[in-house]
Amino acid sequence: MIELKNVEKKFGDLRVLKGIDLSVKRGEVISIIGASGSGKSTMLYCINALEQIQGGQIVVDGIDVHDKSTNLNELRRHIGMVFQQWNSFPHLTVLENVALAPRLVLGKSKEEARHIAEKQLKHVGLGDKLDVYPTRMSGGQQQRLAIARALAMEPDYMLFDEVTSALDPELVGEVLDTLRLLSDDGMTMIVVTHEISFARDVSDRVAFFHQGVIEEIGPAQQLINDPQKARTQQFLSKVR
């Protein structure tokens, strides 16, 4: 379980998160929607401590993420993350991209790591690309590679930060399909997205961010089809 309790985040004087409360249960899929600059990415970065917080608390499976004694590298093994930019390691083949962290972080042997990587790459439909260099692949394929790379750590949670925003429109579908696959597998996911219909159809709940606060949160169908707050209605009418 991921719990955010009154989380505050500042960049200098700029307050980006102003008291975020959110809890995500195992197996749940939550989508985060909201305008650009409302703090969606920042919240994800705070969950695996790529960013520090200035107030409140984030607890993942009973571990206080921002406590000084927390082993962050150990924590991050359990929280996979995929970014808007696919960030393939360009000097490694597709297989090596996925096998690197299991070897370094989990201490797997070369054989084991290869086995894990093959399995995950097949799962996201890249089984025929193992020895290709990622720069030779489309954005959609590279984004699926990034998902396989995160899955290879066998995380308990996955965070997705607008993973389709940098893709050509015709490549969005294949990546969303991969996310659906994960949700069917029962993965716990927090998905920051601009794909409103994806948020409605795949997630259990949707949270609407506005200027660093969760303005409204509720069951996906209800929040998208029948939002209660004026700001949510406004935002949804603009993006649809």
Binding site: Y45, N48, L50, N73, E74, R76, R77, I79, G80, M81, F83, Q84, Q85, N87, F89, P90, H91, L100, A101, L104, V105, Y133, P134, T135, R136, A146, R149, A150, M153
Partner: protein, 223 residues
């Protein structure tokens, strides 16, 4: 009679033995450049990393390195070489030349290394950290190879430049190619032959650097 004979010997033409003399001098150039480039690259990488590590190091170390980059090498050499005898510690030309060249090289390499580290997108580094890699694992397995590929040509430029700039150590009296060529030209009065040979020696010393880096670049074309 006898004074004529010695004069003739002194102003004799270019001889085969002189080739050995030049080869030995090329060894001098090779030795001092190899030391400067290898040790200078090592420290340059450390400094380059320090430049990116914090604002404070970037400011302080950055300005120190700027001094080494901007004061002409020949002035650095003469200052350094003449400074030690003043404080009662004589230093030989080779040691003085090596030390100054190492500083100079590391100042140049530091900027290249900083550029290499900064060439790796912040989001790529976040991705590797999010996989649970430590700071140093990220450095070793992602930043180093990706950054190296980005700045290898720039590094080769620095290395080739240092090889040529090592000629300036001749002002301290260290025997390397330039100094040897001056000695031979004075004796033989055949500058054309001698400078051509010296040019060939420099080319032979540079070739492995440019060839190796070009090969690596080709192999590292991401495909």
């Amino acid at each position: 009679m006898s004074s004529d004979a010695s004069a003739i010997q002194f102003f004799s033409g270019f001889q085969v033995n002189d080739l050995w003399f030049l080869a030995e001098a090329a060894g001098g150039t090779l030795l001092i450049s190899a030391i400067a480039i290898s040790v200078g690259t090592f420290f340059g990488c450390l400094f380059g990393w320090a430049l990116t590590a914090s604002r404070w190091t970037s400011l302080t170390l950055g300005s120190v390195l700027d001094v080494f980059r901007s004061v002409p090498l020949i002035i650095q050499l003469l200052l350094f070489f003449n400074f030690f005898p003043i404080i009662g510690l004589p230093i030989d030309p080779f040691a003085a030349g090596s030390i100054v060249l190492i500083f100079y090289t590391s100042a140049l390499v530091a900027q290249v290394a900083r550029g290499g580290i900064e060439a790796v997108p912040a989001s790529m580094r976040r991705a590797s950290r999010s996989l649970g890699m430590t700071y140093w694992q990220d450095m070793r397995y992602v930043v180093w190879p990706v950054g190296l590929r980005a700045v290898l040509p720039a590094w080769a430029g620095v290395a080739l430049g240092v090889l040529k700039d090592s000629a300036l150590v001749s002002v301290l009296g260290y025997l390397e190619l330039l100094r040897a060529s001056q000695i031979l030209i004075t004796r033989t009065q055949e500058p054309f032959i001698i400078l051509s040979i010296v040019g060939l020696f420099y080319f032979a010393l540079s070739y492995p650097i440019s060839k190796t880096t070009a090969k690596l670049e080709q192999r590292w074309q991401y495909d």
